[in-house]
């Protein structure tokens, strides 16, 4: 019966390196066969790997070895020359001393690599689909603005944050005047175009961190932050005059605005207040804005 077995026959690459210099002090024949390289008098561990793997070695593996003395199951790629790349799995352990030594076990992992690739592809595909769905579920199809659901979600979150930070915020409800007549007179396709143009005017006259949404048929909502009362008034007038100034689809269109400003009131309250102000603006003859400061107490 055979009693002397050679460690060299194990199907795993064994490498011993100096921790700080990364010089290869010893390596098993299997490792050289795997990497298709000849033993050299001096070589650094990095020489056996692709540039991408060198980055992982330097920015993950080395800090981990210095920090915790071991590094488990890292997927790397050996550069076996003439564009042959061999995926490998590496485990490493530091044995302290003068100098500190690292013991590496490096085994081929072609099948594991293929499996990972399939998982990565699957995940990427899922991620793209989920993001598309996410965008679709938040968007008003006609105007490209946020829809009612996304508006409520975003506005609630940001208003809570503004409350904590003591930032004032303003809630605008905007309704196109006599929209039903526009639809009846010119048809629904025309009405849709008016809605699209209105969305464009609103986005062009607001800032990138304001929230603009279409929340109903001809009803739009805006939330802006850091609005002193006068600047909310200013924005409301600016929107109205922008709407008045440019004929939409060749006809004159006007709108009414209700605007509630606060620094404490919750979202639901502001929604109601802005809606009530909008109703008043309609009653006072339309084509106007009514703004009011609510202190929330």
């Amino acid at each position: 019966m055979q009693t002397d077995f050679s460690l060299d026959d194990f199907p795993v690459g064994l490498v011993v390196t100096n921790l700080h210099s990364t010089e290869v002090l010893q390596a098993s024949p299997y490792f050289y066969r795997l990497s298709q390289q000849q033993p050299l008098t001096t070589s650094k561990l990095g020489q056996f790997f692709t540039p991408a793997s060198k980055i992982l070695l330097e920015s993950f593996v080395m800090p981990m070895l210095l920090h915790q003395g071991h590094c488990d199951e890292i997927q790397l790629t050996i550069d076996a020359g003439s564009s042959v790349r061999i995926p490998v799995l590496a485990n490493a352990r530091v044995v302290s001393g003068e100098p500190a030594i690292v013991y590496w076990a490096i085994s081929p992992s072609q099948q594991r690599d293929t499996l990972y690739q399939q998982l990565v592809d699957l995940r990427n595909d899922l991620e793209i689909r989920a993001e598309k769905l996410e965008v679709l579920s938040r968007t008003d199809e006609l105007t490209g603005l946020l829809n009612r659901r996304a508006f409520i979600q975003s506005a609630e979150t940001l208003i809570k944050q503004a409350q904590r930070s003591g930032v004032a915020y303003a809630f605008f409800m905007l309704d196109i005047d006599f929209f039903k007549q526009i639809n009846d007179q010119h048809g629904h396709a025309f009405g849709d175009q008016v809605l699209k143009d209105m969305a464009k005017i609103l986005t062009e006259n607001t800032r990138s961190n304001d929230i603009v949404a279409r929340v109903g048929g001809e009803e739009f909502a805006l939330v802006t932050f850091d609005q002193a009362e006068h600047s909310a008034n200013f924005l409301a007038e600016k929107l109205l005059s922008a709407i008045r100034q440019q004929p939409i689809q060749g006809i004159m269109v006007t709108a009414s605005i209700g605007c509630a400003i606060a620094s404490h009131a919750p979202f639901e309250q502001l929604y109601k207040d802005a809606d009530a102000l909008l109703y008043q603006a309609k009653h006072q003859g339309r084509n106007r804005a009514l703004c009011r400061l609510f202190d929330g107490s």
Binding site: H20, I55, E58, M62, P63, Q75, N124, E134, G144, L158
Partner: protein, 300 residues
Amino acid sequence: MFQFSLIVGALKHPVPNIGAFMFVQEDIITRNNVNVLGRGEQVLLMAHGFGCNQQMWRFLVPYLEGNFKIVLFDYVGSGSSDLGAYSKQKYADLAGYSQDIVDICQALDLNNVVLVGHSVSSIIGLLAAQKIPERIHSQVMVCPSPCFLNFPPEYMGGFNREDLVELIDLMDKNYIGWANYLAPLVTGELEGKVFATELTTSFCTTNPITAKNFAKATFFSDYRHLLPLNQHPVLLLQSEVDALASLFVGNYMLEHTPQSRLEVVSARGHCLHMSHPEQISLIIKDFLRIPVEAGSPDAD
């Protein structure tokens, strides 16, 4: 990967910008897992590099905490930061990370700050110093590089684009937050929860989203144009042999950064502050004109 931004490009207000507000101090301390230690008038704000967290400073800190007030933190998305505060858009760019430094300096009202940054954090520090120059005293850059890409013949950052694409691929295969990450994707709960459910305790980031986003921001960026705009004294610390930042890169930094001084340490590797902490601490003290006493580290 990040086609989200392309899809929503048509929307004016895809994701409202929460970062528009000033944060209160407690928020920032929790968000960035800020830790303050040491004693001294001069503040050292230490910014970890790509991949790891503030624990990478633990070898260097004992040599400096007797002379300085030391502020450590984790970038949002790394270490024990608040992953709920993570935004893919914000942290797709080094400017997003530099805002973390600005927020910390403002929240703690830090002045006379020496920004100590490892690797990519040197450039992040440079971006932060431009936003709040009055709070910054100087910068210490450990193994910095303004650009990892090669632009032959005038600039050799060390890597070709294919290498870096392969790096992203390798990272994908190494960061196996699959279970945590896939489930919300399948159930469609993409917002917030993906990040919030996972708390990273390991030394190196294995969060598949944040780590890869950081890698992309780090390795595909080119901030060479930023160097001449520097307004503070800069200490450049460089390894003799460093696969990520070659001597060429070190000399490039020196040549293009006003008020800079280069110290080449006869060592190998990209983590000088971990492998040669004492030597690094002496150079930093010399740079900041702190007299060096016999016997160290200070904690002994």
